[in-house]
């Protein structure tokens, strides 16, 4: 069953796609590949016939790619400490405290 509160094709509309209410959890699991069995079959079949859920699924997959990209490591740093943005460094006092704590660990470890 498809909901009918937005009669236009979502592709022609810049409002956020609204999935059918009963599909929200299923689409989330479908988007990350963890939906299996009959639930997957049901969801995939539903998506084929429902432009709203199809658009939502596509949007969830794009979002997941963006989130995963956040976890991708930065390329090896070539910049010197002076060239790095300050947000990429521990503040100086924090760094000194850290180095002192490491030295303390060493001395207490004997």
């Amino acid at each position: 069953m498809f909901h009918r509160n937005a009669p236009n094709d979502p592709a022609n509309d810049d409002s956020l796609p609204r999935p059918c209410p009963q599909m929200k959890g299923l689409l989330s699991s479908l988007s990350d590949g963890t939906l299996g069995g009959i639930a997957r079959w049901y969801a995939e079949n539903h998506v084929k016939g429902c432009p709203h859920c199809s658009a939502t699924l596509s949007s969830l997959r794009t979002l997941r790619d963006r989130l995963r990209a956040l976890g991708v490591p930065a390329l090896p740093e070539e910049a010197t400490e002076f060239e790095k943005p300050v947000t990429d460094l521990l503040p100086a006092e924090r760094r000194l405290a850290l180095e002192a704590a490491l030295a303390e660990m060493d001395s207490s470890a004997g």
Binding site: S28, T34, P73
Partner: protein, 206 residues
Amino acid sequence: MTQNTNAGSPAGAAAAEARRAEMRRRFMAIADRYMADLLRAARRLCGGNEDMAHDLVQETLLKGYAAFIDGKFQEGGNMRAWLHRILTNHFINDYRRRTKWEAGVTVDTLTAGGEVGPTSTRAADGDVPDTSLLARTFDEPLEQALQSLSEALRTAVLLVDVEEYSYEEAARAMAVPVGTIRSRVARARYQLQELLHAYGRERRLV
């Protein structure tokens, strides 16, 4: 490594200290290499609280160093992944101390009987985005949207979608049922969609 010094002698003590100083130097060089990554991950987990993020990175590096000098991690291995795990685990332990979840908290659990899947959410080989293009991306709208989420939703989606924990691993880490994690991740994703969509519309209207 040569052990030709007498540990009890002043010369032996000096040599031992020199070795430790060299270990610290090597460890800090590794830490510096991943500092930007660690700070970014810490800021996300801490919802942009800079002090808390700095504390988290400091604690991570202290724990990391303790393991490093114990020989539990060898240089050349995946140091970044190792440090990230320490950071995430430390955050979660702290989070669990700070947060008491009541049994029976409203959970939008997924009830479909067939909802079983692989034990990991890690993507198949063919499903990997072009990371070389994305490697230096700083996705400001997404970072801001993440900070707008509640801590419970943010932590769940960061573990599963950014750090790529399986649902089961995230559930164990946060000491909640798998259904709760699934529900939180789904809610977080929909909230992020709303926030990003609103951001996009705002930008187009300006």
